[in-house]
Structure formats: C-alpha cells, structure tokens
C-alpha cells in the first residue's frame, strides 16, 4: 500500500512535533534542521534555533547545506562565534539538542566516529562535530536516525556522544551536567523515550503500518516496550505541504513526482 508521504517526510514531521515553542534548540545538519524549520512554521514560531558556528536566532530562508553557511544567520538576532554559542550551552541555555547518528545503544550513546577499530577503521565517519557538545550540554537531546540491526546495537563501536553512558547516575559521575541526557529517539519505524529508572531506551510509538515485531527485528539490544504502545499520527496534509514548501527541502526529502 503506497502512502502519500515517504519515510523521511514522516520522520521530519514526527520530529517537529517534539519541538516546543519559546525554547532554544541546537540543531545538526540535515533532518534536524529541516524538522526545526518545520516546527517554526507550524506550532513553534517563537522557538529559537542556535547553530554551532555562531548563527543565533535566524529566520532560516532555505535548507542550509552547512550548519555554518550564510543561511544559518540570515535575518538572525546575532551572528557570533562558536565560543559564544557553546559557552551558552555549557551555562544551560540549550533546552534541546537535535542530533543524527550512525549507531546507538540502549542508553542512547551515539557513534558518528568510526565503524570498526579506531586505528584500523572499516568505515571512517566524520567524528563528533558539535554532536558531543550538544549531547553533553543540552537539557534534552533528541536523536533522529535510520534504524536497522547494525545501527541499533548492543555496543557502539565508539562512544562519540554521551547518552546515559552505562546507566543511571553515570552522566553525573562522569561530570556531565545534572539532569541532562537523551529524551527521544525517532526512526523510520517508531518513537522511543528513556525509562526513568533504568535510563534504557523504550518503545512508545510505532509508525502506521509498523508492528512491534518489526521494531524488534531491527534492534540488536534488549529494548523496553511501554505498557501501551501508541500508533504515530500520520503526517497531516498541512504538515506535508509546509515541509515540501521549504526552499531546497528536496535535498533531504526528495523531489515531488
């Protein structure tokens, strides 16, 4: 059965719904930016986007190719520096960090550095970028990524960005800010939160047409499942129209046929 939207569009729409108005959100390249732009055009017009390279509170006119290109400080409140933005983060001004990832484990630890051994890499990935900074310093981290058994793994090859590390209390013990950490994970199959007590990832919602079994087949660690698993609301025609109307969004979501 073909749907009137693709998986990337679904992920962008679902992610946008988690972003609150009147909050500060730090975004990574690609889908996170696009979802934040969508949220601003829907329910969160007063949400302020911070970009790591120094763009603060822009009216992003088109999908930026880089988190530092000129679109990230178009009609901004301030064009400043990475030191300024990251110092604000360390001080507690980031409500949300919105990141992508290549591998994740049950505690939300993320790998974007290397597949295989560090000194003998099977695939060399870009490294932390600003991800470790966002994941360390924001109050809440939202992760958006593709899910399969090689990506949802028992142990990530490299902890680039901290989730809850080895479990309850581990972030604070390492010296990371109290009360911070992963909040939601969004994939093409479902939505996850983190169990308050164990800090382990928990399935809370499956997307239309996806079963809990599908999710399990695509997860290589022991996943918690909420008592009541919701079905994700489909993207509305309005969400899709606005998403597709964002200048150059096609680079991420594909061109309309």
């Amino acid at each position: 059965m073909s749907k009137p939207y693709n998986m990337t569009e679904l992920m962008a729409c679902v992610a946008a719904r988690f972003l609150e108005d009147r909050k500060i959100v730090f975004v990574g390249t690609g889908l996170p930016i696009l979802a934040a732009m969508l949220a601003q055009r829907l329910h969160a017009p007063n949400m302020v986007i911070f970009f790591e390279a120094g763009g603060l509170g822009p009216e992003v006119p088109a999908l930026p190719i880089s988190v530092g290109d000129s679109r990230t400080f178009y009609k901004a409140l301030m064009a400043t520096s990475m030191d300024y933005v990251m110092s604000c983060a360390q001080l507690g001004y980031f409500d949300y960090a919105f990141l992508g990832g290549a591998q994740i484990d049950m505690y939300g630890n993320l790998n974007t550095t290397v597949i295989g051994e560090h000194d003998n890499p099977k695939v060399r990935l870009p490294g932390s970028g600003g991800a470790n900074d966002g994941g360390s310093l924001a109050w809440r981290t939202i992760i958006i990524m593709r899910q399969d058994p090689q990506k949802f793994v028992e142990k990530v090859d490299f902890i680039t960005t901290p989730g809850y590390l080895s479990g309850p209390g581990a972030r604070e013990k390492a010296g990371l800010p109290e009360g911070s950490g992963p909040y939601r994970v969004i994939t093409q199959l479902g939505v996850y939160d983190f169990d308050e007590e164990t800090k382990r990832m928990r399935l809370i919602s499956v997307h239309p047409g996806v079963t809990v079994e599908d999710v399990m087949k695509n997860t290589s660690f022991e996943l918690l499942v909420a008592d009541k698993v919701e079905t994700t609301e489909e993207p509305s025609p309005r969400e899709l129209e606005i998403l597709r109307g964002i200048r150059e969004a096609w680079i991420v979501i594909g061109k309309q046929k």
Binding site: S70, S81, R124, S128
Partner: protein, 341 residues
C-alpha cells in the same frame, strides 16, 4: 589537582605558556608595516613540511582555498592538520597528499552532501592517520586557552566518552566543586590561513557575519596569513574600529585574492559552487580522478585568476552571487549521485 583520567591521543601543538610568551616577544612585530605579499611567497615563506596547520572559517565557509591550492602546487608534505571543523579544506588537503596526520573534531564528511570519498579512502587505507579525537567546542576552546596564554582550559564536554579517551585532554577533580572536569590542552598552530572580507595593508581585518572560531584562532596562531577579498585604507578601519575582528599585530602576511574562498561559501558575497563541488565528489571516488582534478584545477594553473576562468569565469561568479542573495535556484548535482549509491 587530582588527575582522574587521561586521554591516549597524541598531544600536538602545545607549548609551555612562558615559551608562548617568549615566542610572541621575539616573533610578532609591534610596528605597523605593510605586510602585503603574493601568495606564492607567503606559502613558501611560512608553510614548512611537517608543520601544524589550521584553517580559519568553517570547513567550507570562508576558507582560504587559494592558499590550499598553492600548498598543493608547492607540493608541501607531511603537514599535520587541525581538523577542527574541516570539510572541503581537509578533503582536498588529504587527497592531494599535503596532509597525512590529523586531529579530528569533524573531518571526512561534506555535511549535507554526505561522506568525502577521497579523504575517507586515505584514512581507511592507512595513508592518513588520525591521532586524536575532539568535539567542535572542545577544539576551539583549545585555541581559546592558547589565545589567553594559558596551558589549558576546563570544560564539561567530551566527559565519559571515547571522544575523550582518544583525545589528549585530561579529567581532573575540580578543586572548587570537587566534580570531575575536562582540561583541554592549549593548541598553538604553527601556521594559520584565514580568509576575510577586507583588511588594510597592515592586517587589521573585518569579517562580515559569524566569526566561527577565528577570534580565538587568530591569537593562537604562531604565524597568521590573511587572504582577503579586498584591501581597504587604514582610515576605513579607524572609522569603525568596533568592526575589527583581527588586529594587525597578530598578522604576518596579507594577500589580496578576490573570490579566494571558491568553491566555498563567502557570506554576503557568494554561495557554494555546488556544481564544482559535485565534480570533485564524483572525480574523487577514484585515485585517478583525484589526479585528474588536481591536474585540471591546480597543477596546470598558474594563478588564481586563471583558476577562476576555468571554473566558469564571470558568468559562474555572478550566479554564485545571486545564489547567495537567494535570487537563483540551487543546482546540486551531487543529490543525483547520492541517490544512485
């Protein structure tokens, strides 16, 4: 202070803070002199094989590409790169064989365009070595420590992760709060290239838009070469002194190179040349293609003006200006290639 944990990465570009002061005293001129020179001279004078290099800007934003091409043309070798946030700059520098050792916060990727075929291949084949890992904030705070003349700076990033374990940072018990805190070692690059919107002949520089980490990096640099879109009279600097981001005494050479950031973005002037970058991403899938690209755009070209003709001349440059002003649709041929994969 009790050291709780030490990263195993190689400590590079660090100096004792008194040594740093001595270096400044003996090597940085206090008098305002005309520092203009041509790029060939600047690169041969300040870039030495084996030196530690950092590029200003943000990997493909406000990058001194003209200087990168000149380093390739002069066949510089065994350069160590600060992969602070490195994108097109590192890809080209590693692929051409100029850089073979790196500290990495972000490298081997082209952000929205995907991974970088050439530099990734060099790392995966062991031809370029990653000797430490950092986060973006962590790397630029290393420059801040250097800019302040301090041996290290404390931070709350990188804690608890492999990014820390592969860095040359240390975790200590903070003597005030008693909590673990990460100490980032200062980083003093031997040579830094920065591309700016305008400066005077002495090196007083203005940058439009975000500063990224150039405010700190300019002070951390042992040698700073500024390439500029335009040279302006000193009176213009003095008329609006609050716009000066880099003062003359940090600068060792000034080179005027209009469009010197192509194919990268120069805020308020020109956007990315995505057609050119797509050509590079396609050719760089094979070592032969890499050679072909450098032959076409670097080795067979004698000046940056000649390069600008090769990439499409005035017509292309006008299009990039329109793109920057959001008055033309973006062409990004790499989107097609990405889908085919």
């Amino acid at each position: 202070m009790k050291v709780l944990e030490e990263g195993k990465g190689e400590l590079l570009a660090w100096m004792d803070h008194d040594e740093a002061r001595r270096w400044v005293r003996e090597n940085k001129r206090r008098d305002m002199v005309d520092k203009t020179m041509d790029l060939k001279e600047a690169v041969s004078k300040f870039v030495h094989d084996g030196c530690y290099l950092a590029m200003g800007g943000f990997g493909h934003i406000r990058i001194s590409m003209a200087a990168i091409y000149e380093m390739i043309r002069q066949r510089k070798r065994h350069i160590i790169l600060a992969g602070k946030t490195a994108v097109h700059d590192v890809d080209i520098l590693v692929a051409s064989g100029v850089v073979d050792k790196l500290e990495v916060a972000y490298c081997f990727g082209h952000e929205l365009r995907g991974l970088s075929p050439a530099s990734r291949r060099m790392v995966e084949e062991g031809k370029a070595k990653v000797v430490s890992e950092w986060s973006n904030a962590g790397f630029q705070w290393r420059f801040k420590a250097a800019a302040m003349g301090l041996p290290f700076i404390p931070t709350r990033v990188m804690l608890g992760t492999d990014t820390f374990r592969w860095s040359s940072a240390k975790v200590v018990e903070d003597p005030f709060s008693g909590k673990p805190i990460c100490l980032l070692p200062a980083c003093y690059p031997d040579v830094v290239f920065m591309h700016v919107h305008r400066c005077d002949v002495y090196g007083n520089c203005q940058i439009d838009g975000i500063i990224i980490e150039d405010y700190e990096l300019a002070r951390a640099a042992k040698r700073l070469i500024v390439t500029t879109e335009e040279i302006i009279p000193n009176e213009e600097i003095r008329r609006e002194p609050w716009r000066t981001v880099i003062p003359y005494f940090l600068v060792d050479a000034v080179v005027e190179i209009p469009y010197g950031s192509h194919p990268c973005n120069m805020p308020y002037m020109y956007y990315f040349d995505e057609e050119h970058i797509a050509e590079w991403l396609e050719l760089s899938r094979t070592p032969e293609g890499v050679d072909q690209y450098f032959e076409k755009y670097v080795y067979s070209v004698d000046s940056f003006e000649e390069y600008l003709e090769k990439i499409g001349g005035l017509k292309k440059l006008n299009y990039l200006k329109k793109l920057e002003q959001l008055r033309a649709p973006l062409k990004a041929p790499w989107t097609e290639k990405k889908k085919k994969k």
